[in-house]
Structure formats: C-alpha cells, structure tokens
C-alpha cells in the first residue's frame, strides 16, 4: 500500500472529480473508482521517485515542527522556493514529509 498523500494534489483532485462524475452517471462502480485511485497512488509514488529529476530548494524560518507516526510536519515562515528558473516567496507553508525510502522497499 503506497502513500495516499498525493490524492490532494491538483492532479489527484481532478482525477477524483472525474471519477465522481463517472460514478454519478453510473458508468463505473464505486469499487472500480477506489481501485483506480489505488493505482493512481502507486503510479504517482513510483513516478515521483524515479522519473522526476528537477530539484527545488527552499529556505525559511522554522515556526513549529512535529514528528508523529513517522511523519514530519513543519510549518515554515517567510520561505523562498528556488527552482533553476524562478523564485517563489510565501509567507507561511506547511510541509508534510513521509519516509520515502521505507515506502519504496515496502512496494518491492
């Protein structure tokens, strides 16, 4: 079972919306929709870990942190995200980080 963390991204949200539409028009069953979402979890976890080569760095002031159930949660203030092309400044950002290495070995 891979992380369901990415269902809340714009890609995951639009997939969920379209699945809802399909269920409403009774073209697929809810069980199938759930199955699709699980496939999506697996695919995006795999894709992000193996296909993405971009690197984004960020720097900011740590406001609070938390570690519970192997998940780190950080709230950063005045954070600047730097890509090779652009810089984005945000006042407040919450970062939720899971252990990627253990999840990868779990899948294998």
């Amino acid at each position: 079972m891979s992380y369901q963390l990415y269902r809340n991204t714009s890609l995951g949200n639009s997939l969920q919306e379209s699945l809802d539409e399909l269920i409403q028009s009774q073209q697929i069953t809810p069980q199938l929709a759930l199955r699709v979402l699980l496939e999506f979890d697996k695919a995006i976890n795999h894709g992000l870990s193996s296909r993405v080569r971009n690197r984004v760095t960020f720097r900011g002031d740590l406001n609070t942190y938390r570690f519970c159930d192997n998940v780190w949660t950080f709230v950063l203030k005045n954070t600047e995200f730097t890509d090779c092309l652009m810089k984005v400044k945000v006042e407040k950002v919450k970062i939720v980080a899971c252990d990627g290495r253990n999840a990868a070995t779990k899948d294998d």
Partner: protein
C-alpha cells in the same frame, strides 16, 4: 634559551619558558638594575587585571631578561568573586494524570514522538527548554540556564498540556541536577593536584578522561578539573554547585601554573555544545 609564544590569537604575548622570562630585543640600552614598566600594546591586556610591572635584571651571561609580576594578585583563598556560569538545569515534575502521548504529538507543537522510546520530546524557545514527557505524567525538563527559568518553563509545559485537554496539576517540582562551569585564574597542574589529593573522592585517569574527577563531600558536588583551569561541576542544586566550586577553590592554590593565566575568564570553550540529540 627562552621562548616567546602566543597562547591565543588576540591575546597578549605570554612567556612560556621554564624561567618565565622574555628576552628583550634591545638589552644594551637598559642599565643595570633599572626598573621599567612595559605598556601593554594589546587593548585586552589593559582592561584585564593582569597588568604587569616589569623588572629588568642583568644576568651573568650579559643578557637582559624581563620578569613579569602580576600587579594585582587574585585572592586565591576566597572564591566568592569567581564567575560561575550555570549552563544546564535539569528539573522534574508530575502532572498527576495519565497522558495520551499520541494525542500530545498530534495536537501540540514542537514535539517529537517516537513510539519505540515511549516518550514525547517537547521543546520551547522562550525560555529555552526541552521536556521529556512520559505517559505516566512524569516530565523532565532540561536545558534551562537557571532554576527560575526551569520552573517557569516547567509551568509553561504544564499549561500547554492542560490546553490540549488533560486535567493537569503541577506537582512535585524539583531541580534534579545542575551543570555549571567556571574558570580558574590560572591553568592547573592536574597531575600534581591528583597526586596530592589521592583518595576515593578524587580520580584522574588520563586514558579515560582528560580531567580530574573530584567529589566534594559536603555538597556532594562532582567537579571535573581540566588542565586549562576550567572546572565543570554537577550538583543537586545551583547553590550546591556554586558552593562546591568555592570549597575546592583554595585547594588549587599550590598547583597553579602562574605562567599561564586565564586572561578573560572566558568560559565559552568549557561550555557544552548547543547541538542536542533530537530523540
């Protein structure tokens, strides 16, 4: 014959030779028996109490030496003027109720909960303090720099827990352990010191630890004495730690290396590092 070397960058040039002498660069100018004062060129020396009077003596081999004598001598018996800095106070208290650690970890801030260690580590920035919270309701606070701060931060931790929804009662607060550091006016010959104080209360194992471990029986303080002259002390309370250093201070008198004074009483190199383990 004699050596001139710099002890620390930014400090005055100190002599290190066995005779504690410095060769003057222009010996022939000064006549026999002349007394002169050397004006310190380094500003730090001017501020410090080690302003020295320099006596010029003509030696047999026609070389002139400068002998330094400290103008203001330290009171080597009375340790009341020592600068003792407390760098860690460990305290413990109870909240008289069981705590759901998972709930604390999810709802509070600046927490680390590793289930295998069975405790929550919670930190606070002001006053700077770290609390270890067990589910039994026992809490240990470390990292405070005074007993007042320890109590203040302990109360703040209790308040945080009560805000989450536990029925907290602040009880059994006490300071458990205190770590303080202090610098003696001169470096200490710890070899001689340990030999003179040999016994159960004093141990020096250079292969295990570079300092002498000394137990003060009256205050039950444990002191670690290093050859640089810095002394770290652990005791049950701040008062006992200070009393422990003051008790031992007169005992150093015969073992000082007077040629190596600690000019600034700078305790920063004796302080433990700020990097703490997260778990």
């Amino acid at each position: 014959m004699s050596k001139v070397s710099i002890i620390r960058p930014g400090h005055a040039v100190q002599k290190l030779s066995g005779q504690s002498n410095i060769t003057l660069k222009t010996p022939s100018v000064l006549p026999e028996g002349m007394h002169g004062t050397v004006l310190p060129t380094c500003p730090k020396v001017t501020q410090s109490v080690f302003q020295s009077v320099v006596k010029v003596e003509k030696m047999d081999n026609c070389e002139t030496f400068v002998k330094e004598e400290p103008k203001i001598k330290h009171d080597l018996q009375d340790g009341s003027r020592l600068h003792i800095s407390v760098c860690n106070v460990v305290s413990s208290f109870r909240v008289r109720c069981h705590l759901n650690l998972r709930q604390i970890a999810l709802e509070s801030i600046d927490v680390v909960y590793r289930r295998e260690t069975q405790k929550v580590v919670m930190r606070m920035r002001n006053p700077k303090c770290t609390a270890y919270i067990w589910s039994s309701g026992k809490i240990v606070c470390t990292g405070s720099t005074s007993s007042d701060n320890a109590k203040k931060s302990a109360k703040k931790f209790a308040r945080r827990l009560s805000k989450i929804g536990f029925r907290v009662k602040f009880a059994d607060f006490r300071v458990v352990n205190v770590l303080a550091v202090c610098k003696m006016p001169y470096a200490i010959d710890i070899n001689q010191f340990s030999r003179a104080n040999r016994g159960r209360h004093c141990s020096y194992e250079p292969e295990l630890h570079p300092g002498v471990t000394f137990r003060d029986t009256t205050t039950k303080a444990t002191l670690k004495i290093f050859s640089t002259g810095s002394v770290t002390v652990t005791a049950r309370s701040v008062e006992k730690a200070k009393a422990g250093i003051r008790n031992i201070y007169p005992m150093f008198q015969d073992f000082y290396k007077y040629e190596k004074p600690n000019l600034e009483f700078d305790v920063t190199d004796a302080l433990p590092s700020d990097n703490e383990d997260c778990s």
